[in-house]
């Protein structure tokens, strides 16, 4: 069957079978940033956004995302133009093998969209469905808190494209596309 949906802002029609999960369809169509870690919704490595909400795509039937808007890690930032959350993970060395990281980052961006100024405990709770075997989570939690600080005041995404909910876009965003730039702090 054919499923119409939007992936990273592009409307697409993809081939799918009824038993396919969203993860199956994404990976088959080249969106391999979402990883298959358990296929039971228990590890979070496959986390993507569906209509702005974080979901574990391995247990999301593709039939449920007809006409939905899906965002994956591929839509977030480029290697030389990272999203602040991605940049914070890089700068805080909050990654090792990296297998959990795309899911972790998608979970973190979802958190910061609804709660731009989380406490450490709120970060830990928000990420508690996403496992990591390498880092002991310490640098990951630090990276998310760092990202919150970098994005404080409604700095736009590093790709210059998208404002965060709850933070009205401000002008002069181009200057702040510098990934680790703090210039927007308090500047709103």
């Amino acid at each position: 069957m054919e499923i119409e949906l939007e992936i990273n802002g592009v409307e697409q029609t993809v081939e799918a079978s009824k038993s396919d999960s969203l993860l199956d369809v994404l990976r088959r169509n080249g969106y391999t940033g979402a990883k298959r870690g358990c296929d039971t919704g228990a590890c979070g490595f496959c986390t993507v956004h569906v209509d702005g909400e974080p979901v574990k795509s391995c247990v999301e039937p593709v039939t449920k995302v007809r006409d939905a808007s899906v965002e994956t890690i591929e839509g977030l930032g480029e290697q030389d133009d990272l999203h602040p959350v991605q940049q914070a993970f890089v700068d805080n060395t909050a990654l090792q093998c990296g297998f959990c990281i795309p899911g972790m980052i998608m979970r973190a961006t979802a958190l910061l969209e609804t709660n731009p100024d989380p406490t450490e405990q709120e970060v830990r709770e928000a990420l508690s469905d996403n496992l990591c075997r390498c880092t002991g989570y310490k640098k990951i939690v630090e990276a998310v808190l760092d990202a919150a600080e970098r994005m404080d005041g409604g700095t736009v995404a590093a790709d210059g494209g998208k404002a965060f909910e709850g933070n009205e876009r401000v002008a002069n965003s181009t200057e702040c596309a510098v990934n680790d730039c703090d210039c927007m702090e308090g500047g709103q």
Partner: protein, 826 residues
């Protein structure tokens, strides 16, 4: 058998430098004489690319989802078939027949293989990714007629898509002749216990195998005269004999990326594997052996891998993928499910240990006697060598104890197989040794820290216990770097050991526990790393290295070491690693060897290339090479200050009018050394005596890994290692029903700690300089997996006076121990 066969995976020996436990401030003011003696040793001010938090070279690929792991290569293979393994659902028996007809009749099924097919090798092999000849027994077959645990592979399918492969696998009907099974390692010893192997089922070069008693290996070694020391102590009022027992469970690696392999034969008829492995070169050799093809016709490529932790120091699934590929005539991807990871792949060996010491009233340890019974499960991969390390890693913390005995038995049961797992026996051993030492101190009314430090290793000690299982003194090691005292002092301060505040509630009690930690840096006398540096004309370099980055950041560390020698930045180094066609040889990523062995090979290769850089710099600057050095992207004269850039040298060497040369350097490293990194793990805990529940308030780990090449990556290793160690102490376990069926099938049943389960963690790096390591580095990866179980047991003992001896610790365990304590008080 020879001694080298007997204890192949035990550790090694280092060398030492001057000042004992030099604090960083003191290290700064080391004399010029010290530096002259150790040209490798650089004060921090002279380091450019090392001791720097260099960005991990794959970090941007990872955060954008562009890093490719094995399964992400599927789009390169339009005709890729997908594999699925059929596994035994009984614990012990023989496959009588396999009916594949229904599966084969399905549309989209490309191949079905069983133990009875010619395409499946019938040879014995070991899946252990160890050097040749593997010390682990050759006791496996690719598909198994004789199944020995629930999960043994008996057949496999390749199909056009994963769903068809799954459905076809379920249509394969296997008939078994069931045999009695045994699940308890002590019962497996009994005369009437079911026997897993006939002697001629196995090629086993290890010591003490007796398959009639399900014994894969028995080993023992002794220094001094242990019995005499205990005899003396038990008859002397001023001496004490204390004996304790400890038990540890199965632990899963929970490796993020499940084992995955793509096997294909390329247009040059070469058999190629893109595979999630820690050991590309061992896998190449083992595939060649199994399938009777020349080593040169096999290529093993390691892409990014989703960690290993030892589970991928195994050729666990590559042979099945390759047999499916041969049968299907198409590239085949075989990707394990999480359930297979939790039930059929590899685990940390469960053990039961006894520790006995003789101690004087003055707190001197006169004798140590450690025994371990290891349950290796159905097969023997890493069975003996892991058990060896139960003693040879922690006992060297106390190298001046004159009488030491260490022995063990490695026993088969009809349960999943133990194998290599980060720490490699040391987590079990540290639990027994370091919780025992704490118990001794408390029973004899010594301060647990002072008692340990009185007996613990110092620079200059001669450590024989690391080689206790070996003949001769080739592997006796001199301790040339040891920061264990500074680790203790700084950790003690940070955890607040000396001024702990007690909670106000009467039923809450707070305590602190400490464990000393040691590991090795590679396998003494059983390592080889090699690397090659090639200069590009723009002054950059390609670095080809066999070493394997499992996600730790090893490739970044390699680039930092090369850059420090060549005088460029790490970004000027293009790292090509771990591809048996493109890179020099390496034993692989295990035994904490990558920085110390492969990193040293990189350094040697870079130094070889540097000689040529200086020669070309000499020609261009018209000054002798011995006044020249590399730095800041060029070669400069220490005499005149003149300099020529690496780019100028690169162009001149490549395109010069008179002479031309491709500037190359090669380096090898192999050694009998394996210097121990050291650490101190502290745990702060609050125990609720009403419920038995306990809460970890804080973990502090202070580590001496020599010079940290990349401190941020070192911290990451420590924090991740403590995570695994925390799980081992508090929540990780596998259970089985009475028929040997696994009860833990996934993350939901397994207690892997989540973000909310982690206490505050603080990491301290104590720098020492290991003269045999690259720029003074030792190892770090395994060290921090050893500490939480003993430190937590010690902290609970400190808080409420009871001793927990059986991992993982539950609230019920605490309550039971408290009841026992109050019963004893009455």
């Amino acid at each position: 058998m020879s001694d080298s066969d007997r204890a192949r995976e035990t550790s090694e020996q280092p060398d030492r430098t001057g000042v004992e436990d030099a604090a960083p401030a003191e290290a700064e003011k080391e004399s010029e004489a010290d530096v002259a003696r150790e040209p490798d040793r650089k004060p921090e001010s002279e380091r450019d690319a090392i001791t720097v938090d260099e960005e991990k070279d794959d970090a941007r690929k990872i955060v954008t989802g562009e890093a490719r792991y094995t399964a992400d290569y599927r789009d390169r293979f339009p005709d890729l078939a997908h594999g699925k393994v059929v596994r035994s659902d009984i614990a012990h028996g023989y496959v009588e027949s396999v009916d594949t007809s229904a599966a084969e009749a399905m549309d989209g099924v490309d191949a079905v293989i069983t133990p009875f097919d010619d395409v499946v090798p019938h040879k014995l092999y070991s899946s252990s990714g160890q050097s040749y000849p593997e010390p682990s027994p050759w006791d496996l077959k690719v598909l198994r007629e004789h199944v020995r645990f629930v999960g043994d592979p008996v057949a496999a399918v390749a199909a056009d898509d994963p769903e068809t492969a799954d459905r076809a696998a379920r249509k394969i009907e296997v008939e078994y002749r069931e045999l009695d099974a045994v699940f308890d390692p002590e019962e497996a010893f009994d005369d009437d216990a079911p026997q897993l192997f006939e002697a001629d089922d196995v090629e086993n070069k290890q010591s003490g195998a007796d398959y009639s008693r399900n014994l894969e290996s028995h080993f023992e070694g002794e220094l001094g005269d242990v019995e005499a020391a205990f005899e003396r102590a038990s008859n002397d009022e001023e001496r004490h004999v204390i004996e304790t027992e400890w038990e540890t469970p199965y632990q899963s690696h929970c490796v993020p990326e499940p084992h995955t392999t793509i096997a294909y034969t390329d247009e040059d008829d070469r058999h190629t594997f893109i595979t999630a492995t820690q050991v590309p070169f061992h896998t190449r050799r083992q595939i060649a052996h199994l399938f009777d093809v020349p080593i040169r016709d096999v290529r093993v490529k390691k892409p990014r891998i989703g960690a290993g932790f030892g589970s991928k120091q195994e050729m666990a699934i590559e042979p099945i993928a390759f047999a499916l590929h041969l049968a299907a005539g198409r590239p085949v991807k075989l990707e394990m499910s999480r359930q297979e990871e939790f039930t059929a792949l590899r685990f940390r060996h469960p053990m039961r240990m006894q520790m006995r010491t003789a101690v004087t009233d003055d707190g001197d340890i006169e004798a140590m006697d450690l025994y371990t019974l290891s349950n290796t499960g159905a097969y023997g991969t890493h069975g003996m060598t892991v058990a060896n390390n139960v003693g040879t890693k922690p006992l060297p913390i106390y190298p001046r104890v004159p009488n030491v005995r260490f022995s063990g038995d490695v026993v088969h049961t009809n349960l999943p197989m133990g194998a290599a797992m980060r720490g490699y026996g040391a987590p079990q051993g540290h639990f027994a040794v370091e919780a025992h030492m704490d118990e001794v101190a408390r029973r004899l009314d010594f301060d647990p820290i002072e008692f340990r430090l009185q007996n613990a290793v110092r620079e200059g000690d001669l450590d024989r216990s690391v080689a206790i299982l070996k003949d001769g003194d080739r592997f006796t090691r001199e301790i040339r770097s040891c920061g264990i005292r500074e680790c203790v002092e700084r950790g003690r301060e940070v955890i607040g050991y000396d001024d702990l505040e007690q909670p106000e509630s009467d039923h809450l009690h707070r305590g602190v526990g400490m464990a000393l930690i040691a590991q090795g840096s590679g396998v003494a006398g059983k390592e080889l790393g090699a690397a090659q540096v090639q200069m590009n004309e723009d002054g950059s370099f390609h670095l080809q290295v066999g070493g394997v980055d499992t996600g730790t950041g090893a490739d970044t560390m390699f680039s930092q070491i090369a850059a420090e020698v060549l005088g460029c930045t790490p970004e000027d180094i293009v790292v090509i690693a771990a591809d048996t066609d493109l890179t020099p040889f390496d034993y692989g990523a295990y035994a904490s060897s990558t920085t110390y062995i492969s990193g040293r090979a990189v350094k040697n290769a870079a130094e070889d290339a540097k000689e040529r850089l200086l020669e070309w710099g000499s020609n261009l600057l018209d000054e002798p090479p011995d006044v020249l050095d590399t730095g800041d992207g060029g070669v400069y004269s220490e005499r005149s200050g003149n300099r020529v850039s690496l780019e100028e040298i690169g162009y001149e060497a490549t395109y010069g009018d008179d002479e031309r040369e491709h500037i190359l350097g090669d380096g090898n490293h192999s050694t009998d050394e394996s210097p121990p990194p050291y650490g101190a793990q502290f745990v702060d805990v609050t125990v609720d005596t009403e419920t038995g529940e306990y809460e970890l308030n804080k973990l502090v780990f202070a580590a001496d890994c020599g010079v940290a090449i990349n401190p941020a990556l070192v911290e990451g290793q420590i924090e991740g290692g403590e995570h695994m160690s925390l799980e081992y102490a508090t929540s990780g376990d596998l259970t089985f029903d009475e028929d040997g069926n696994p009860e833990v099938l996934g993350f939901r049943q397994y207690g892997m700690p989540r973000t909310t389960d982690h206490p505050e963690m603080e990491t301290i790096l104590v720098e020492t300089h290991e003269p045999t390591g690259p720029f003074g580095a030792k190892s770090i990866a395994e060290l921090p997996t050893n500490g939480v179980p003993p430190a937590l047991s010690n902290a609970i003992r400190d808080a409420v006076g009871v001793r927990l001896t059986d991992l993982p610790f539950t609230a019920e365990d605490v309550t039971a121990a408290l009841h026992e304590q109050s019963a004893g008080d009455e």
